[in-house]
Symmetry: C2
Subunit: 567 residues, 2 copies
């Protein structure tokens, strides 16, 4: 293709009101056009990249038996009422009415649509398992659209849904889909981690996030070289077994007036913060519980909520605590605490000779020990992961903390939607059963942004070979010079016939302008054809990743590039 | 692919509330799922067909230099206010607000979006001409969604837009696009006509509709073997020159009381209806005009509106006519009519010794002749085409009348949008000019429906080879029989390696069920493999179009089918 014929409106200026490098580069290199806040349009280069990503994804879906469908973009309110998501989604949902007053939303994800399709069309075990997928626009009325296409109002997603006779079959297929998602991320050239994640608005028992590592990302994850990974919200905390020669001492009450926190009290006594047991009261679905946590730890409310199976938890304020226990917050402690369920984080019960509030004003207790001086109802991992924590799987290495962009998320939904929406099938024995279900989403536009976020320099984007809009740019110094023109066309034809996607920069521009644009757009390989090198029968080959170029024969340049794409 | 693994929910029953054969067959054959009124979802077979149609269209667009883009589906109100289409579209537009109150519509067609994109990104004549296209969902809040996907709320369209330095270049490209659209229709296997059409809500000076012939279609067109075609609204009427030996007679006033119409008056006098000149008063943008039309003709209001360049025309009622001319409707006539612009249809002025109202109660005039007894201000073609009319181009043959489905529509927009939206470029001489524009739409989902509407029988669909979901179905009588299984797989592999799209009906069903489904789905070729034929080394080959099958060697069946797709 010829540069002069394409709409590639590159910009020298950096748009001032864009908050992330990938979005700046997408606009500057003519990949997207920003229509309005959170709405982006894909220009020819952008569509070329999206098509390459789509092709990789479609292949992986087809290989594992996925069948492509096209669901509607408008979903009737009635369907989302069946799962209550019409209400749960709140303001994130774009809502509209038709001229007869029927209400619809623009599809945020398609669980209701697909479950409805399946319950209408699948009746028998003979039709299961089945996997359907689509590429479709999704809509979210983001409170603050940002990060370019990453948090946009409209974005392109591949969503897949699988349907199974039982959990066992779902489990088996979930692993197959997991591997397909791994392949997609690898083939798109991404640096990524797979992490255990919380299921959020989609629900279900279990989910994995595929996170492209990027400092600008919103996701916070931990991971270990042993393979373990989790969102910081979900990450399991490892309990180091107590190994201590000291024995438990006798409890000792201490009065320390005019102190604001138990940490200050411990400091006053020169005790380590690791000796403190903080006691925090929560109201969970209306009932109070006391949570014990070590002084240097923080409570992970997601874990607490999951542990209690609560739909809502809320930390109790001073007044509520006084009304329940008749003790101000700062003096709370586990010793003698009655009529309330006590939950201890796993690390708490191992604290030898702990320091706690005495449930009396200005009073604390030293040398408090589990099972001797206090007891608890539940022991569980309810704390936030923190820097320095050891991996709970290999039990050896310290966890790494990274930021990233969520590009994929797969969910084992089980019967959540099939029960709510009555999607059943008849099994071999003529018995009606709920269909087990998984759902699997990957952001096509997000992969594009994440790839840029992972790979750019001061001059522009550096595309992975697999999803570059063009694989090679041929830059004639002067396209009108007949010798240069001839060799340019020859190289173009040879690379093209080798299956490569080649751009000729035929514009009547200075060579500096052509180089700047090639670098900005991020095309992996550049062949420059100028009179000086051509006098010796040579051209100049440069990889976008390297600063140095090579002078070599045209046929060698063609061979070397072709090899890079077929190795 | 194996039938048992695919979601092809065929139905025996005909859905009762579906109004058109193609929609019934699409539902029965498992191509679509109807989600709600006017909203259809495409199942795996449907997506396969759409992808084949898309591939044909994409190829034609790429060949003529089209560049694929992806525009947004939500358009900000501000853009549509610039062209006033926010108001013009009325209730057909789906409207919605984001959480901040900003208003959007779901895109009905993308002229505003693309013109905005171009005015932001095209500055110089060097960037022109340019053609952008996309495949995208379009939305219309139809007053009465019907005919399956033909008048749906959501539908898939390929829309293209071209931008040019001047009308001359646009004109040239319009012809190129015209040919590309011809190719698309031919390659999709459609019987179609191209007709001159009115431009409707899109606007512009000139447009052509591509109409698939189908009795169930809404479009009414006329066409001639000479190549001429037009919508009945737009069709030019041919005026046969008067050839008559009689001369004009003297006017004669006649009084006929108690008559309701001028036709009844003519009947009373035994005069031909072709002798009558009807006089009709219109109010055009507030001003009255009188329109003269022959007794057996009808006024074409679209032609009248175009002729007068009026934005609104309205037939005047009795009261209005009396207030203007002081004569009841039925006695209106051109003789002595004053203070009003008179427009005569071309056929009127040739009526020799015409019969008209006398502008007096119960009075008529016989033997009225143009230029002798009355005059007019404008003579123009303002009548509706009718059966028996001669083609205005070849001036020989009678026009044919057909019904059809509009599948494509191309428009020469000129500067309509670029002037309203200030889309300009700087020409070679540094002068700012408006960009000339064309727009070109083709309904992907409509092509699918039209193809069915043109080709089905009592057993189901008969797909054209080029867009069939599968090209061949191989039907083993018993897939578990090892001999049958082996030859089935061999034929599958050979056809597939020849590039054909093959389905194996591996289901454990009676052969009758398999045949019924193959016929319903409409796969062009069927190879049946049963023990009886196989004993003689033969299989059974049947084309969907023919009732008879052939018994032949497997390799001959493979060769014969392959030949059909490569001839």
């Amino acid at each position: 293709m010829l540069f002069s014929k394409l709409l590639i409106p590159t910009l020298k200026e950096v748009p001032s009101d864009v908050d992330i490098t990938s979005a700046k580069l997408m606009i500057r290199s003519g990949i997207v056009n920003r229509l309005s806040s959170g709405i982006y349009e894909f220009l020819p280069l952008g569509v070329k990249i999206l098509k390459k990503i789509e092709k990789i994804i479609r292949h992986e879906m087809d290989v594992i038996g996925g069948q492509e469908v096209t669901l509607s973009l408008m979903l009737p309110k009635e369907l989302l009422l069946e799962t209550d998501r019409w209400n749960v989604y709140g303001k994130e949902l774009f809502r509209l009415k038709d001229r007869k007053g029927a209400e619809f939303c623009l599809v945020p994800t398609a669980e209701e649509g697909i479950t409805d399709l399946i319950r209408r069309n699948v009746k028998s075990y003979k039709q299961l398992p089945i996997t359907l997928y689509q590429f479709g626009t999704k809509f979210r009325d983001e409170i603050r659209p940002r990060f370019g296409v990453i948090r946009a109002k409209e974005f392109l997603m591949k969503d897949a849904y699988s349907f199974h006779a039982d959990e066992f079959d779902l489990e088996k297929y979930y692993k197959i889909m997991f591997n397909a998602y791994m392949n997609i991320c690898i083939k798109c050239g991404l640096k990524f981690r797979v992490v255990e994640a919380t299921s959020g608005a989609i629900g279900g028992s279990f989910s994995h996030e595929f996170v492209a590592l990027a400092d600008a990302g919103e996701e916070e994850i931990v991971w270990c070289n042993c393979g373990y990974g989790a969102s910081t919200e979900k990450a399991k905390c490892f309990k180091i077994e107590r190994f201590n020669n000291d024995g438990p001492l006798n409890m000792e009450e201490v009065v320390i007036p005019n102190i604001n926190t138990i940490v200050d009290a411990a400091n006053f006594l020169n005790l380590s913060v690791k000796k403190i047991i903080k006691t925090v009261i929560y109201i969970t679905d209306g009932n109070p519980v006391a949570v014990l946590i070590r002084g240097d730890h923080e409570i992970n409310e997601t874990k607490l909520k999951d542990l209690l199976g609560a739909s809502k938890i809320l930390i109790a304020d001073e007044q509520t605590v006084i009304s329940i226990i008749n003790v101000p917050l700062v003096f709370l402690g586990p010793v003698g605490l009655k009529n309330i369920k006590i939950i201890a984080d796993t690390s708490v019960i191992d604290i030898l000779n702990a320091f706690v509030g005495a449930n009396k004003k200005n009073c604390y207790i030293k040398n408090v020990n589990y099972k001797i001086d206090y007891d608890v109802d539940i022991i569980a991992d309810v704390r936030k992961i923190m820097h320095g924590d050891i991996c709970s799987i290999c039990k050896k290495e310290k966890l790494m903390f990274s930021k990233g962009i969520e590009i994929g998320h797969i969910f084992k939904l089980g019967n959540k939607y099939s029960e709510l929406m009555k999607a059943t099938y008849v099994d071999k024995n003529g018995k009606k059963k709920f269909i087990s279900m998984g759902c699997y989403g990957i952001g096509v536009t997000r992969i594009l942004a994440a790839a840029i976020e992972q790979s750019y320099d001061n001059n522009g984007i550096i595309w992975p070979n697999s999803i570059a809009p063009f694989e090679v740019v041929v830059v004639p110094v002067d396209y009108k010079n007949s010798k240069i023109n001839k060799i340019t066309k020859k190289i173009y034809e040879e690379l093209s016939s080798n299956g490569l996607d080649v751009l000729i920069d035929d514009r009547n521009e200075r060579i500096g302008v052509k180089f700047k644009d090639a670098d900005l757009i991020g095309i992996p390989y550049r062949i420059t054809i100028g009179e000086k090198n051509l006098a010796n029968g040579n051209v100049d080959l440069k990889s976008r990743k390297n600063t140095k170029s090579k002078i070599l024969k045209p046929e060698c340049a063609v061979a070397e590039i072709t090899q890079m794409f077929y190795k």
